[in-house]
Amino acid sequence: MTEPVTVLDPTAEATPRQRSLNPRPAGLEGLTVGLLDISKPRGAVFLDRLEERLTTQGAMVRRYAKPTFTKPAPVDLRHEIATQCDAVIEALAD
């Protein structure tokens, strides 16, 4: 038998905070839906179509865009979306 080896923890030792998703809305009538463009080419093509379909189902659509697709959305933008919208759809592109 070899002696057990104690090693130090290389991780952040952080416990992730678990957050549950909001319940899925029963319908879109009267809701505000945010469409977030990550700023890659042709993302708007997809989002334009989504906006058309959401609007016909009674949703009000607000459009947002990340300053660049290479970085996370700035905290102010995330806050803006969270306070102004009932739901959000983020679009990848290319």
Partner: protein, 327 residues
Amino acid sequence: MYDRGWSDGLPLVPPTRERVLRMLEGTSRAGDEIVALMPPNLVECTVEKVAVNSVMAGCRPEYLPVVLAALEAVCTDEFNMHGILATTMGVGPVLVVNGPIATEIGMNSGVNVLGHGNRANATIGRAVQLVVRNVGGGAPGGVDRATHGSMSKLGFCFAEDEEGSPWTTLAEDRGFDRSVDVVTAFCGEGPRILVDQQSRSAESLVRMLAEGLLASVSPRTVMGMDGLLVLSPEHMARFSDAGWDRPRFMEELGKLLMVETDGILAGAGGIEEGLPSGLAGLTLPKFRPGGLLVVHAGGPAGLFSAIIGGWVNGPMGSEPTSREIIR
């Protein structure tokens, strides 16, 4: 350790208390000092956590200051480690070390410089990536979404051959004194070898290098992606024999890296990828001003240089970032 998700796939050195304490002797900084906010989870990363991961990577204590400075460089908004980790493109931090520390800790700037066989080169870059993985929480399949990845994501670090170069060093070119220890982080893919075994003049070789560089990342990118050119000693000799210094080389190369946009518009040559039609009729540089970094490294024999393609550059992506190494 592998089952706990701590490894990049290779075996790790167990980070025992004794080994970590010995590693911490490599720096004058306190173990509880915060080095950086580590992406992607933006966790405060201490010197001690860096030391633990450096032990696992196989570093010697004297490498630790380089690992710490490299982490400071990559964990900046301008370098954008989060985006580099998350992108589907196979890029990672390419670390170039300048200054006396490179020789003192036994880094390789010569034979097989971009390959294996040197402990410092192999483990410094690996330690940086292990910190991002273990402290930052960035692992393949999680936030790391690379389509193919590349060896630069495992760890890519080398030293410039300063002694053998007639030119100013990369760090000097970036504003540092030659006596200062510096690490420069460049967001790049793996190296691509460019063969030119026949050019005997500077004028010929610079044209060949330009042809190779025009295809860096894609022949249809201009100004949006940076590049790193690693000139071998035998290629460097063509330029030093002709009396070209770094500014002359950059000037001559720059003239050859101008691209007529009509040839790379979307649809040109039957290829849908390309520049938008609004950019027709222009002549643009392949690299933005300052977007091509040049270093001298490699074995004494071999008429090759290496091109390391970059990623989205500048404020929209990643900026090459240099930091002084504090011992």
